[in-house]
């Protein structure tokens, strides 16, 4: 049942520059995780996407980018599914 999702996560995690990927549902439960992302952060990521969507309730869900010195984390929420992609320059 989850094969298409697993395949998709594998594909993303093998892209250049990607060090981890996490997928969470609307309840904040982890649907899949690859690389350095941690399954325990799924709740936070879902909550973050939900909070950010509250910024402009009328508009489409935004893309959230968290930037650190060495890595980035992209979070996007769509159809009750939240996807987070971790990127770090070492792997690119």
């Amino acid at each position: 049942m989850e094969k298409p999702l697993d395949k998709c996560l594998d594909e993303i995690s093998h892209s250049a520059g990607v060090s981890g990927v996490l997928c969470a549902d609307s309840q904040g439960l982890c649907l899949g995780v690859r690389g350095k992302a941690s399954a325990s952060s799924s709740g936070t990521i879902a909550a973050l996407a939900e909070r950010a969507a509250m910024l402009e309730p009328g508009s489409q869900d935004p893309l959230i980018l968290l930037e650190g010195d060495n890595s980035q984390c992209l979070v996007h929420h769509n159809n009750s599914i939240t996807l987070a992609v971790y990127k770090s320059p070492e792997t690119s």
């Binding site: 969470a24 904040g28 325990s40 709740g43 936070t44 909550a47």
Partner: protein, 127 residues
């Protein structure tokens, strides 16, 4: 110290959406520390309800998959997440549409409080 702990728990409760209450009890369900908002169902705070968990977690530990750490109970309007941090048990009561993943990750914020409390409880039970 107790006031600080209580404040910490209240902050945790308020900073997580839809969390209605956090109760730290011993394994028999005797409340040690409790923070709850007004919407919390009284039944969920009663020792009879919470002590059921310690029985269930004991049984779940016998399934051969190691010690049971967390238990999530979903109800029509509420969800209850129990953390097994023996000798103490932490019960988090939230509304059913709360972010379960976020509630489950509360354990690492509560654990420091619990370990401090556990020391106190240990000393008390020894004397």
């Amino acid at each position: 110290m107790a006031d600080e702990m209580k404040k910490h728990l209240t902050d945790l409760m308020n900073s997580t959406d839809d969390v209605l209450g956090i109760v730290i009890t011993d394994r028999d369900g005797v409340p040690i520390m409790k923070v709850a908002s007004e919407e919390t169902p009284d039944l969920a705070l009663r020792p009879t309800f919470i002590s059921t968990f310690s029985m269930a977690t004991d049984q779940a530990g016998k399934l051969g998959m190691g010690k049971n750490k967390k238990m999530i109970c979903m109800y029509g309007n509420y969800q209850v997440v129990h953390f097994n941090l023996l000798p103490l048990v932490v019960t988090v009561i939230a509304s059913s549409h709360a972010n379960t993943g976020l509630v489950m990750s509360l354990d690492k914020d509560i654990a420091p409080v619990v370990s401090q409390l556990a020391q106190v409880v240990d000393i008390a039970s020894m004397s």
